[in-house]
């Protein structure tokens, strides 16, 4: 069964390329600073050195910092925020969705109304308010993105649980006297997870984009070097120092694209019917 998953994933070239790219990026962000230097804020040369000159692969920024090093460091924080906020959203969304779907009745109604409340708020506006309120830091950004994205997870989880809770194997578990929580966790959740995993992988990509938007607007954590921060602070100089914005921009595009490919691959692998239906 598991071998089937892997085989179906590997059969999707886009997903494999994406996965390799992501692995390379993560490895690069860990290994490369050992060679390039430890601190992306360090002034390494004159400001505005174009790419390729004086040994700066991607040039220097407006304070003379190495853009290549900053892009690599940006990988760490962008992925950290992506994965962290995905985990936050899944934790909130999967829990509420599963409870709502399994319990049904007024519990379901209540939880779904709360979910809808979050869904109808414009998400970027909500996160701007949240981050402004909590103060700009890595944690507030992670929590903020988690808070605006969990409703999707909750709805998918609820639908899955509702369709599974009356299956025969669940009825069987109920008959032999398993308690509801055990049934939910042991019987239903493992089978409800595949679509959630697919959504979650895509949420990493959208979280990276959201963080970039926040940093671009000056609401990210200014104590850490992220891609959005680099673009946000250097866009004034775009006319004559394009490289400071271009390289973090390329990093965002390629990473988000790679994660999307991997997400598509996961969807195909975990849900073979989708492939057949095409």
């Amino acid at each position: 069964m598991q071998r089937d998953y892997i085989a179906r994933f590997m059969a999707n070239p886009g997903a494999v390329v994406g996965l390799i790219f992501l692995a390379a990026v993560i490895a690069g962000s860990i290994v490369a600073p050992m060679f390039l230097g430890a601190n992306p804020w360090e002034v390494a040369g004159r400001p505005f050195i174009p790419p390729g000159q004086d040994g700066f692969l991607m040039g220097t920024d407006m304070l003379g910092r190495d853009v290549a090093l900053a892009v690599l460091y940006g990988t760490r924080f962008s992925l950290l925020i992506g994965v962290g906020s995905m985990l936050a959203a899944v934790l909130i969304g999967a829990t509420l969705g599963a409870v709502a779907g399994y319990a049904g009745g007024w519990v379901d109604d209540l939880l779904m109304r709360i979910t809808e409340f979050f869904q109808i708020l414009p998400s970027l506006v909500l996160i701007l308010v949240l981050v402004a309120f909590m103060g700009a830091s890595v944690y507030s950004v992670i929590i903020g993105i988690g808070v605006i994205t969990w409703p999707n997870v909750a709805r998918v989880m609820r639908a899955e649980v509702m369709s599974l809770r009356n299956r025969e194997y669940v009825e069987a578990a109920r008959v032999i006297g398993q308690r509801p929580l055990t049934i939910l966790v042991v019987q239903i959740l493992p089978n409800a997870m595949p679509p959630v995993i697919v959504i979650a992988s895509l949420m990493i990509a959208s979280a990276i984009l959201t963080e970039s938007a926040l940093s671009f607007l000056g609401l990210g954590d200014p104590n850490i070097m992220t891609w959005g921060y680099m673009i946000g602070t250097s866009r004034e100089y775009l006319r004559f120092a394009w490289w400071i914005s271009l390289f973090p921009g390329l990093a965002i595009i390629s990473t988000v694209l790679a994660i999307n490919f991997v997400g598509d691959g996961l969807a195909a692998a975990l849900n073979p019917r989708m492939e057949e239906g095409r």
């Binding site: 000056g218 104590n223 602070t233 866009r235």
Partner: protein
């Protein structure tokens, strides 16, 4: 074109200015009116939206830029710091330097048609100091104001005060209409956002978040002026959009803070714009960090000296200001009167000295190499302050000091509430230490106001010296006290002095008629006209 530092106030000019009886000339303001082309639109883009544009009730770059066209002072200062009459057509100073008599112009009307009289002047002398920290210090010395007649006002000081003209020129002391403001809550008066002044341009429209629009005042006191028909101040928070507004030809006057230094250089190199030298000399901008001396370890002078040694100020000058600044060595900037380098204890960039000082005071690094952690408050709407703090935190980190940035919308609020460890600000010194410097160090000024002595520096000896310096009747005597003040402050380091900034104004080459005044950015611009 090389960007050079603008003109500075020299000792000689300052002494000339302070000599009693300096300003009895009645300069015919209309004299420059050689029939120029009328018409055209000036556009000067703003980086932030001002809360109001009454320069009598608030001082900021954008308030004074827009408000300076609508409101006027009794007089301005020219490039030699000589008095140029504006609303006062003649000023007499008694030989003992105590009595100042202002003879007001008679044909001046407010924009709503009401006549301008001595009552407006007396009212302004009473109200404006409540809102201007720097004007207040000067007007504290006024013992008596006398309304001689409808168009004559006499101020009697309780002693000679050398920087009186600097402190009460138009840029510090705007005259506001009594008939609009008397008996109202000044700050919430609707006229603040639809002002009525005496200047060459009258208020037309304020579209919130978009622009402020001024139009020509056809009843301006000087016939034939101003030349241009209207001025727009669009408000564009994004720096790249401001630069684009210059490139598309919309913006033709680039005020301080509107466009970054690289784009300024590009516009000058392209041959389309020129620099108005010294247009902000009277402001004397500096970038400094305020220290909350109540919070350990900042209460230890060795720690403050360590900060001075740890920060590479030359790198800030080179990489943030690209040479349009100089390292600031002490409390009084080199552009301000009475600067005395020989009195200063100076601090070279030497991280080893910083580390030695912290070792000596018993502040060892912990297991992760951190000796102390604290907050650094920075206003995020200032690109220069944001760039500077990045370098400052880098330099501090190199000696084991972990400065966490707190980027805030309203830095002045944090300053006024004493809610900071370090706080970066860009205050002006306004040419004289008693106008722009004393407010940060006098123990009597430890109050909850922006740009007061919010760090809590309390040194009775310094208070005495400052009182003696401002009561001095000759520049030599004042210099002696100010040198001692600089010796004490540079030894005590109650603030971190980073750099003296040369702000500049650029104008498009088809515009002529800007003056050389040291506050030209805030001037009336009534002589500005287009040439083809």
């Amino acid at each position: 074109m090389k960007l050079t530092r603008g003109m500075q106030l020299t000792r000689r000019q300052f002494t000339a200015l302070s000599a009693a009886g300096v300003a009895t000339t009645a300069l015919p303001l209309g004299g420059r009116a050689l029939a120029q082309t009328h018409g055209g639109t000036l556009t000067a883009v703003f980086n932030i939206e001002p809360p109001h544009i009454n320069p009598g009730l608030g001082t900021s770059n954008v308030i004074q830029t827009a408000g300076g066209k609508v409101f006027q002072g009794l007089f301005n200062l020219d490039e030699n710091y000589e008095v140029v009459p504006v609303l006062a057509e003649r000023i007499e100073v008694s030989d003992d330097g105590i009595e100042y008599t202002f003879h007001l112009r008679r044909n001046v009307r407010w924009h709503d048609g009401a006549p301008f009289t001595a009552d407006d002047v007396l009212f302004s002398f009473e109200v404006v100091p409540q809102f201007h920290s720097r004007t207040r210090i000067a007007l504290d010395r006024v013992a008596e104001t006398v309304r001689v007649d409808d168009h004559t006002v006499t101020l009697r000081l309780n002693g000679p005060y050398l920087p009186f003209f600097l402190a009460t020129s138009g840029v510090n002391m705007a005259i506001i209409p009594r008939h609009i403001y008397e008996g109202t809550d000044y700050m919430s008066n609707p006229a603040n956002v639809a002002p009525i002044g005496t200047g060459p341009f009258r208020f037309s429209e304020w579209r919130r978040g978009e622009y402020i629009h001024l139009v020509r005042n056809d009843d301006y006191a000087i016939d034939d002026l101003p030349y241009v028909d209207q001025i727009y101040f669009p408000m564009v928070p994004d720096g790249s959009q401001r630069s684009i507004s210059v490139e598309t030809g919309q913006t033709n006057v680039i005020i301080a803070g509107a466009v970054n230094l690289q784009d300024q250089r590009r516009f000058v190199d392209s041959g389309q714009f020129r620099i108005i030298e010294g247009a902000y000399n009277a402001i004397g901008a500096t970038i400094v960090m305020n220290i909350n001396l109540r919070n350990p370890p900042f209460d230890d002078v060795r720690f403050r000296k360590a900060l001075m040694h740890a920060i590479n100020r030359q790198q800030i000058v080179d990489n943030v200001f690209f040479g349009t600044a100089e390292v600031m060595e002490g409390p009084i900037s080199s552009a301000t009167a009475y600067f005395d380098k020989s009195a200063l204890t100076t601090y070279d960039y030497d991280p080893q000295k910083a580390i030695a000082l912290m070792d000596e005071m018993g502040l060892p690094p912990d297991s992760s190499g951190v000796r102390a952690s604290f907050r650094l408050i920075v206003g995020q709407n200032s690109a220069n302050a944001m760039r500077t703090q990045e370098l400052v935190r880098l330099h501090l980190g190199a000696v084991g000091l972990n400065a966490t940035l707190v980027a805030v919308d309203s830095m002045p609020t944090r300053d006024a509430q004493w809610d900071f460890d370090l706080l970066m600000m860009i205050p002006g010194q306004f040419l004289d230490p008693d106008i722009g410097v004393s407010r940060f160090y006098l123990s009597s000024n430890i109050v909850n106001n922006f740009q007061a002595n919010t760090g809590g520096y309390d040194n009775p000896r310094l208070d005495e010296l400052w009182a003696a310096a401002t009561a001095a009747t000759t520049a030599e005597e004042a210099q002696r006290h100010y040198s001692e003040i600089q010796r004490i402050l540079s030894e005590d380091v109650p603030r971190i002095w980073l750099a003296e900034i040369d702000q500049r104004m650029l104008v498009r080459n088809d515009l002529q008629g800007f003056g050389n005044s040291p506050q030209e950015g805030y001037a009336e611009w009534d002589g500005v006209h287009f040439v083809s």
